[in-house]
Symmetry: C2
């Protein structure tokens, strides 16, 4: 075997590949996952064994198989199929509409010509912001995840062409970035450039793309290019003295380097991530800048979330990854402090984060404006990614609650129902009279669209985790898991459910042979009164916000039934959230609801609307499945109040007259927040005042 | 006289002064104001007559004597003295503390070395932002206004030195700007540079400084330099084709050029302002940029306030000045539309404007966040300046109401009570736990401090206006007017009052001889039930928000008594102001009040406080003069409510439980908003929820 591996390596060693890159491939024995039977189609198929990790086909969103401080371990995206239900349609549109149209837009906006230009295949000028290379990388990552769910030859061919065009511009040194060319060459890789120049950010996304594509296809071309950039260019020249300093101007490289380490086993990559997370005293910046970057100073000295929200979330991802590999308690302490800040003071009910448009940043504690909410799609995704890592480290269901909250609301809102328009910001209230167009097919800073695409493409990888004692179920949807326990025993789990519209989930558990293990079933934090039975026998002690650990000898044919009531829930915010004071939101299951003005009686302005909780129960909220609306949603009907204010005629300031007490009863209709702004422009709000008689 | 003028002109013609500059001095007869008796002390004293305008000593903040569309005409700053009362102390601190310390800070921060460097007197590098020259200009303008209230030899000597250093760097062409030197020379005066480069902005402030200093001293040195810049450099080369295009990247030049025209009578200066206000089709910018600049497209095509608030306010000032000279109805139409937008949708109760930190900009209609309010001091000043011009054009008291609102609140808050610290932004709610330091002695963009200084220094000029039928009284304070009617009849008006703490104003009207004219007495919009008597004889039909026109034969010894009740008034905002929904503000007279947490019972968080309007009247609000607090203020006492929330322990989101209904009665103390943040860091808020039992 050792011989064949030596031969196989040569099949992907390109002429530009250096000895250093080859030496990065450790010679440990291959870990053979049980699902490793089928052959990859690419010519690089025989070259995948790099360390004692699972094969490329057996690696999850994160490859935590050997991460010493991971309690939970990802299962591969391909291990879960989602044939129908809520996420099936979304994912199908993602592949059939979003990803193809985004490819065309990347071309139309010159993102690939930036590469072609450097090899004489285009006369177009360099175009787009400094980080434009990350756009095709993120798109490629999305494709990589799609291919992890099954081959798509046409899509793969297009992507392979793109990858060839990318690696064609890699310099002999390993450097690859289309922006720092010609008179910008002197700007390369200085800490000052790094603080705004996104070279490491682009490399991070290149690595993530390379890894996802490798895990989807076994094709190492882009991965090897990434390894060359890291091992030939970065590691020999940059790092602690006497090497040259670098700084993570936009965190991303940290998590990417650690994921690369999880493939190569090359400890230097992990160490470089640790170095970047700590900052380098030789590269100093004004405090304002290190706050904005959420980097440049030791991660472990942070005590609150601040600065650019996406940067902060990605930094927290990288730091959690670092903890998963090292168990450094200083990192865990900081991560728990920051997570507390996130969940108790900085997060929208949608799971969105980053209140301020200015600096795309976190605001003060409890600063969560609604109409002005920034809530960048990328930041909500970063929130989900971070909580995924925290969940792996802790097994604590509170992280899964946030993953679900962000996924179903603040992330899902980011893509139009037809899959062709994207939100950059995701406000919780909206007035179209300002002329703001909230959904667009393209942004010059087009980070969010491919980020949404990769998230939906990777979704099956978030459904389950392995653990030493069994399996964790995190997300509900019609789906089938074909995988195995860590003991090696094959395991099939089938979910049947109409979640999130209905709270019943039937789960068939079918181990290859009868086995004693624990099935950790997530009970969402919102699911008061949830009931669980196994083979019709009720289980006690079901607690919302925890994993219900069902330890028994499981056999094929066993059925878990999870029954969650889904009454519309009226939610209040901490009074310190000034913007929600006197207001409530409505949630049903994992879905946050909103009012769109066009669904309300004609002439009623959302400004004048209030909820009335003193109604008879039948008038309070009625859930109603409406299959013809917004792709099929459960709407909520409520008899509320409309104050009789002529708001347009009223002076901006006037003596208090208590006029708001005159009101009339009106029917109100709520739709899920994620589906807003998919019809004509209209006002929207999540938080609505309460009527007091 | 004609001969002596020819001679005198030579006394200030410097070697660099061109024929073009000389030709700009028209040869019309001198208009002799009645107060023109005393001699100016400068050597340039004999050279002041430029047009048939009032002499330098007789010109007000604006010289509207010959403006055909001005209904009201400014009176000179020096015509009003303010010996005691509310503004006397503020103005004294402005002269004795603010202006001297700001001079030292300008020096310490290299603003004058920028000039010295160019004549070999400093080796320091060019320092500060692109518009740094405007800092000494604005400071000089403040001094100019101080000197209009009486000579201050030391201050004048320091300023003369500064002026000499400024004019020393003027190039033979007339150009003067320390930033565009050496390799930046090619960037000079291109539309692209103008859009961000502030050359015209700096020239505008140079002209305003020159004019104020000229009106304070008769010294024309800086004024002549400004005229050379305009007449030798700007007018011959820039303007409509075939001249080169320019654009007002930060409006300011428009109002300055028109004020210069009001001195020189040189119509080309007015025309250039009109050209700039209309934009030049040869210099096009993205819409986003023209919105931000509030220029670059025809002013008369604007339909709403948007973009950078200070830019918008200065543009509106310039446009109103243009209307005052031309009567162009398209301008007036646009100005009234924009003013409606300002007063009905875009202004804080403090008179502050510009809701967003991002772009220092106006937000959407009714977007008036409190904690995040930007409300830049300069923008509130711009608001006052614009309304001053609108008042001159219309004589409508609604403009005086906004002047008073901005002056007493959103402007006055901008300078600490000791005169050494300044607010850049003026929020209406504040939580110090975010670490924001709201008052600072210096900002690298130090526009606000000297702007506040010039405003307080110019204040006497805002007290009265002349009109063809008599005199207008706008602002109340102990004061003495020594001036004349437009008929030439000398007039002395003395105000005795403890305003704004007390609503009684005793006004002695003493014309030099008994004369028939109208005394237009402003009745503030807030002054319901105001009573007016003349010589103890009550006058009927006193209407708040109007000028009470008292037409009679006035004789020395006549006394007007204005009696305004000052009950604390509870103010509500239009329901479309989401951030004020369910909340009220408290105002007394012209002063907006706020709560500072340190004045409330220990342990009570402002987050949990509500006002209780169901109290017995004696508990609702009690006004109490507290001479030992904050320089002497009337505080308001109120028995309100504190909700018993443990806001720190409470989850960010939780099921609605109505816990806010548990509350207890507590005494609350309000202070005037302008005086906030003058003690230790503490929370503050203007808008407070109402308690509903």
């Amino acid at each position: 075997m050792s011989d064949s591996r030596k031969v196989s390596r040569r099949t992907f060693v390109t002429s530009a590949m250096s000895a250093a890159a080859i030496s990065s491939l450790p010679a440990q024995p291959v870990f053979a996952g049980i699902n490793n039977a089928s052959s990859p189609s690419a010519m690089h198929q025989v070259a995948v064994a790099l360390t004692d990790s699972p094969s490329w086909k057996d690696q999850g969103i994160e490859n935590l198989a050997k991460s010493p401080y991971a309690k939970l371990h990802d299962i591969p995206v391909r291990a879960v199929t989602i044939p129908s239900g809520f996420w099936a349609g979304r994912r199908e549109i993602n592949v059939s509409k979003s990803i193809p149209t985004m490819h065309d837009l990347l071309e139309a906006n010159g993102r690939m010509n930036n590469f072609r230009r450097l090899v004489g295949k285009s006369n177009a000028k360099q175009i787009g912001p400094v980080f434009s290379d990350s756009d095709p990388y993120k798109w490629t990552e999305a494709v990589g995840f799609v291919l992890q769910s099954g081959d798509r030859p046409e899509l793969r061919a297009v992507t392979e062409k793109m990858i060839n065009e990318i690696v064609a511009v890699q310099e002999p040194s390993g450097y690859l970035n289309t922006y720092y060319q010609n008179d910008r060459i002197p700007e390369r890789m200085t800490p000052q450039t790094q603080s705004t120049g996104h070279e490491l950010y682009c490399l991070g996304h290149m690595l993530q793309a390379a890894i996802a594509y490798y895990r989807g296809t076994g094709d190492r071309k882009l991965l090897d290019a990434g390894i060359r950039f890291v091992n030939d260019f970065l590691i020999p020249n940059y790092g602690p003295a006497p090497k040259k300093p670098i700084v993570s101007g936009h965190p991303e490289i940290e998590l990417a380097l650690i994921e690369l380490y999880r493939i190569t086993g090359d400890r230097r990559q992990l160490d470089l991530a640790g170095y970047v997370l700590q900052g380098d005293e030789r590269a100093t910046f004004p405090e304002r800048r290190t706050i904005y970057m959420f980097s440049g100073t030791p991660f472990t000295a942070r005590t609150q979330l601040q600065g650019h929200a996406v940067r902060a979330m990605y930094a927290c991802c990288g730091a959690t990854d670092y903890y998963l590999e090292t168990g450094d308690p200083a990192y865990w302490k900081t991560l728990t402090i920051l997570w507390e800040d996130l969940s108790q003071r900085q997060m929208y009910i949608s799971g969105g984060v980053g209140a301020r448009a200015e600096g795309e940043a976190f605001g003060e504690a409890y600063e969560l404006p609604n109409a002005r909410a920034y809530g960048e799609s990328c930041a909500a995704i970063g929130n989900m990614m971070w909580n995924w890592r925290m969940l792996a480290a802790s097994g604590d269901a509170k992280h899964a609650d946030i993953i679900e909250r962000a996924l179903y609301n603040g992330i899902n809102s980011g893509m139009s129902l037809d899959g062709t328009l994207y939100c950059y910001r995701n406000p919780l209230a909206f007035d179209p009279s300002g002329g703001d167009k909230i959904r667009n097919e393209w942004y010059d800073v087009t980070c969010c669209p491919p980020n949404l695409e990769r998230t939906f493409a990777s979704l099956p990888g978030y459904f389950y985790s392995n653990s030493s004692d069994g399996i964790y179920l995190h997300l509900y949807n019609d789906s089938e898991l074909n995988w195995h326990l860590e003991s090696g025993t094959g395991l099939k789990v089938t979910q049947k459910t109409n979640y999130p519209w209905d709270g019943r989930v039937d789960i068939n558990v079918a181990p290859a042979q009868p086995s004693e293990f624990t099935f950790h079933l997530r009970i969402p934090g919102w699911a008061e009164g949830a009931q669980v039975s196994v083979n019709n026998k009720s289980i006690s002690d079901v607690k919302p916000g925890q994993y219900l650990a069902i330890q028994r000898k499981w056999s094929s044919g066993d059925v878990i039934r999870l029954q969650m009531e889904m009454p519309p829930q009226v939610i209040q915010a901490n009074p310190r959230v000034i913007d929600d004071a006197g207001r409530v939101a409505v949630q049903r299951g994992p879905l946050v609801y909103c009012l769109e003005e066009l669904d309300q009686p004609e002439g009623v302005s959302l400004v004048n609307v209030a909820l009335d909780l003193a109604n008879t129960p039948s008038e309070t909220f009625q859930s109603q499945l409406q299959t013809d609306l917004l792709g099929g949603v459960v709407v909520l009907r409520h008899v509320g109040r409309a104050y009789e204010n002529d708001t347009n005629a009223r002076a901006l300031y006037s003596g208090y007259s208590g006029v708001q007490t005159k009101s009339r009863r009106i029917p109100l209709t709520f739709i899920p927040y994620y589906a807003w702004a998919n019809r004509q422009a209209t006002s929207m709000q999540v938080w609505t005042p309460l009527y007091k008689a």
